[in-house]
């Protein structure tokens, strides 16, 4: 089988072989009975007691890249990986951990690049050794069925390949510890925005305690810049099971665990909408507990805050729908600011129309979706904890109109 050496490994191998002299005969070294190392051995088994002397085997070799399939696959995989990892530009649609927009995500991305380089080198070295040994030391008919030299080991080599990995571990650990400390123990500057995040099955509650805002599923935070940092510090709580707040381009994930408050922070340096979702399996609809973080310019953020701080719009045309809302069980779960409805089990609806999606991102916030959601939540999110209220069509339309006034 001819070999076409079209890849770097093959080229390197060819170079190595040519250095050894491609046509030399097999040479073996052995201990003779006086325990001296001599060239040439009896045709039966060759033996080397492990005394650290390296065993030299030079053989005529023909390379057949039987492992070529695996190589090809590897290149394909890494090529497609590299291609797929090309980060989306700041279009806001990406959730690529390697396209960070905030300091914690950036520190992680930089550390990760370092770790990847080191592990990549380790991989290449060890893979090269493995590949070489498979190709070079394959049994061939020309061997005549002899057993190779029975080498038991070598303390020097063992020490070498123990010490070097230990050193690598130390270097990696030190680099990592710095980043751990920088992210986790970062002090909260006085200008920071505080948000309390409460995880529910299957939606996110956001409270801005100092601003008096309660909203759900879509987080608005101000953009920050490195000179005048206005980071956002999140306090993570849970009302039921474990959840995890993950917006990859803004920060690493942190879990929301009941009875175990957590803290995380981010300081996004570009505007836009950043996507994420719950990462800790929390029940049936874990998959549709999506996150939408809108990073706004300072003025836009202030405008948003002011709009959220207002109580609910009182639109007289929706009075019928509002009555249905308040007379059915809706207000047991939902709150609408400035009205008697103050349920906390479900999302706050005061400014429902200011959100782009409903049901924690499961559907766009359109008239039809809203209607379908209220009529039968399981149609959009089967397993959601909102019951179908079995409203009549008229009542349903009324409630939807009422919802649509809550801008």
């Amino acid at each position: 089988m001819g070999s076409t050496l079209t890849n770097p490994f093959g080229t390197a191998l060819a170079l190595f072989r040519s250095k050894l002299g491609g046509n030399s005969r097999a040479v073996f070294w052995c201990l003779n009975h006086d325990k001296k190392l001599v060239e040439g051995c009896p045709p039966s088994q060759k033996r080397l007691k492990s005394n650290g002397k390296r065993q030299m085997l030079a053989r005529r070799t023909k390379s057949t890249l039987r492992g070529g399939w695996r190589i090809a696959l590897l290149w394909f995989a890494s090529a497609s990986a590299l291609w797929a990892l090309k980060p989306d530009s700041a279009s806001g649609r990406g959730t690529n951990i390697f396209s960070p927009a905030s300091t914690p995500a950036k520190s992680i991305s930089d550390l990760s690049a370092f770790v990847l380089v080191i592990t990549g080198i380790i991989f290449l070295v060890v893979f090269a050794l493995l590949f070489y040994s498979v190709v070079r030391f394959r049994a061939r008919a020309s061997d005549g069925g002899r057993e190779p030299a029975q080498v038991y080991g070598s303390m020097q080599i063992e020490l070498a390949w123990t010490i070097i990995p230990i050193l690598i571990v130390v270097v990696l650990f030190l680099a990592t510890a710095r980043v751990i400390h920088a992210i986790q123990d970062a002090p909260e500057p006085p200008g920071a925005l505080d948000v309390i995040v409460i995880g529910h099955q299957y939606w996110w509650e956001f409270r801005y305690p100092k601003l008096g805002i309660v909203t759900a599923n879509e987080l608005h935070i101000p953009v920050s810049d490195l000179d005048h940092s206005t980071p956002t510090f999140l306090r993570l709580l849970s009302a039921d099971t474990d959840h995890s707040f993950w917006v990859p381009e803004l920060a690493g994930k942190t879990d929301l665990i009941p009875n175990h408050p957590n803290r995380m922070w981010m300081d996004p340096q570009r505007e836009g909408v950043f996507l994420g979702q719950c990462a800790q399996y929390c029940g049936t609809q874990h998959a549709k507990m999506l996150l939408r973080v809108s990073v706004d310019r300072a003025e836009d953020f202030s405008a948003w805050v002011r709009a959220q701080q207002k109580p609910a719009v009182e639109d007289p045309s929706a009075i019928a729908g509002r009555r249905v809302f308040e007379q059915n069980a809706c207000m047991n779960c939902h709150a609408v600011g400035g009205t008697p409805a103050d349920g906390r089990f479900g999302p706050d609806l005061t400014h429902l129309m200011s959100r782009a999606t409903i049901a924690a991102g499961a559907a766009e916030n359109t008239h039809d979706n809203l209607r379908l959601w209220i009529q039968n939540p399981s149609a959009i999110k089967p397993g959601s904890l909102m019951p179908a209220m079995k409203l009549s069509d008229a009542d349903l339309d009324g409630v939807v109109s009422y919802m649509e006034t809550l801008r």
Partner: protein, 557 residues
């Protein structure tokens, strides 16, 4: 009494009626038969767990798919994980240990044959209990059906409040029962190895497979029991009104995580160390050289056993431990990579300078080395806790652990199957089918699990029954699913090989591979009593000494 009636030997009288044969198998205490029973039950659960995986992959083929409902999907990934870890991987490894350890140390049977049988049946019963949950009854939101809490059943999701009905209880009980079986087997293995070695087999002359099963058994004693304790606590919470993990009463969900992972991490080492054992037996034979650095291999294994008990919270990097705890577990996790790496180097060192025969067991071993290297390196990546804050709970980590379990453990198991099937049945597996199996599985494996790292990097979390389009995950998931089907095909080829070769395979003699450990000195399959006379050994490779009397190992050790 022969141990296998179907390969009839000359002079055999008429075959026993099948009822008697079945009775023999059901009441056996012979370690060889129990080993085979473990392996067969593991293969059965492998098929079932594999179907669950295919269901998962079909559902995830494209975004917003509705092949199955979210409830069914959640049950699928829970059952797939639980089945594969507890009812495939552990039993098959115990099965091989059961079969091989007494043979390799020259013993008649395990130290406690009846405990051995009891442990097997407990383990099998656990599997049946788990699957009985599908029939377990009806209830609200599918409660009373198969468990859907993930194979870790994190608190408080596993509590009565969030998992009503009995589905979660089947999970708990199945694991509790089979856990006791595992402890029984571990006690048996340790007692056998410490007490029943043949004359001359000092502890530093045991085959590496025996050493590694010893370390594995020791770890089982210390690792499975925390899970048993946690399961008891969960049952107390669910049925006696306890508050161990009840966050409303001041209990701690994090405590469950600690207890689970104190089990969970050593558990994966319990699974991989016997696979290291297989590699340490197979690679030398097919490289025609002794294992490079036997004492270092033993030391590294023991070291892994100890250090792996200190790394568990690397599964909990995202739960909000303080920076010192995160740093500590980063360090220990990276440290455990050192002895593991040393073993890889030693295996390559064994191959180096050898005369490598690329038969099917060796093909799978080389695959193991390649894949375990990659898996270890992605593990090191996630050991860096900030990197883990992004990668954890995503498809990257799913890719990583499947790389270890499928690319590492399953490949090593396939190698072990091809290597020891002749000993167990007296027939060789077909090399042709073996090569088909290998290449098909390799392609499918890499198509699935190489690509699977990418959605993780692109932000796809795990345990989601569907995902949003436009995140760049669609095509990748499609490719992953195709790979899964290719692997399924390869498994079918494997099973076909097992069955066809049983009836039509070439007869294997005592020693088809020209190997060096004691099991190859007796017939294939071995007689019920194993050794007609108790063997005495003078070195680590007793059969090498016999075959090369002018140059025995004993001179050099």
């Amino acid at each position: 009494m022969s141990s296998n009636v179907i390969t009839a030997s000359v002079g055999q009288t008429e075959a026993r009626p099948w009822v008697d044969e079945l009775h023999q198998w059901l009441t056996t205490v012979d370690h060889k038969r129990l080993g085979i029973l473990y392996i067969l039950s593991a293969l059965l659960f492998l098929m079932i767990g594999g179907v669950e995986a295919l269901i998962i992959r079909i559902q995830l083929m494209h975004s917003h798919n509705n092949f199955v409902s979210p409830e069914v999907f959640n049950r699928m990934f829970t059952m797939h994980g639980t089945t594969m870890i507890f009812f495939v991987a552990m039993p098959v490894l115990f099965g091989f240990a059961n079969y091989l350890v007494p043979l390799m140390i020259g013993a008649r049977d395990m130290a406690f044959p009846r405990l051995n049988a009891f442990s097997f049946w407990l383990s099998f019963l656990g599997g049946l209990l788990l699957y009985f949950s599908f029939l377990g009854g009806s209830g609200l939101y599918g409660a009373g059906n198969a468990p859907d809490v993930g194979w870790w059943s994190y608190a408080p999701l596993g509590a009565r409040a969030f998992s009503p009905g009995h589905s979660s209880d089947y999970w708990t009980l199945a694991l509790l029962v089979s856990g006791f079986g595992s402890i029984g087997t571990a006690i048996n293995i340790i007692a056998t190895i410490l007490c029943l070695r043949c004359p001359g087999m000092k502890i530093n002359r045991m085959p590496l497979l025996v050493w590694m099963n010893l370390v594995m058994a020791g770890m089982v004693l210390l690792a499975i029991t925390p899970l048993s304790a946690a399961q008891i606590m969960l049952l107390i919470d669910r049925y006696l009104g306890g508050h161990f993990f009840d966050t409303q009463a001041g209990g701690s969900a994090v405590l469950w995580m600690h207890f689970f992972w104190i089990f969970g991490h050593p558990e994966v080492y319990v699974l991989i160390i016997p696979c290291f054992a297989f590699m340490s037996e197979i690679i030398p034979v097919f490289s025609r050289k002794p294992i490079f650095g036997y004492p270092v291999m033993v030391a590294a294994t023991v070291c892994i056993g100890f250090v792996s008990m200190s790394v568990w919270a690397h599964h909990m990097f995202t739960i909000g431990m303080n920076s010192y705890a995160n740093s500590f577990f980063t360090l220990t996790t990276m440290a455990v990579g050192v002895p593991t790496g040393i073993k890889i180097f030693n295996w390559i060192g064994t191959m180096w300078g050898g005369r490598i025969q690329l038969k099917t067991p060796m093909l799978f071993s080389i695959g193991f080395l390649f894949q375990f290297l990659i898996a270890g390196l992605t593990g090191i990546m996630m050991a860096a806790s900030p990197f883990d804050w992004q990668l954890s709970l995503s498809y990257f980590v799913v890719a990583h652990f499947h790389y270890v379990i499928v690319g590492g453990i399953l490949f090593a198991l396939f190698a072990a199957f091809y290597y020891w099937y002749p000993k167990m049945t007296g027939r060789m597996l077909s090399e042709r089918l073996g090569k088909w199996h290998f290449w098909l599985f390799l392609i499918g494996f890499h198509l699935t699990f190489d690509v699977m790292h990418i959605p993780g990097i692109l932000g796809m979390p795990r345990r989601i029954y569907t995902y949003e389009p436009g995140r760049g995950w669609d095509t990748l998931n499609f490719i992953i699913s195709i790979g899964a089907f290719i692997q399924a095909l390869a498994i079918l080829v494997f099973v076909a090989n097992l069955v066809i070769s049983y009836f039509k395979g070439a007869r294997a003699g005592n020693d088809p591979w020209d190997a060096w450990t004691l099991e190859w000195s007796i017939s294939s399959p071995p007689p019920a009593y194993n050794f007609a006379t108790v063997p005495a050994v003078a070195s680590r490779r007793p059969l090498w000494d016999l075959k090369h009397p002018e140059d025995p190992d004993s001179r050099y050790e």
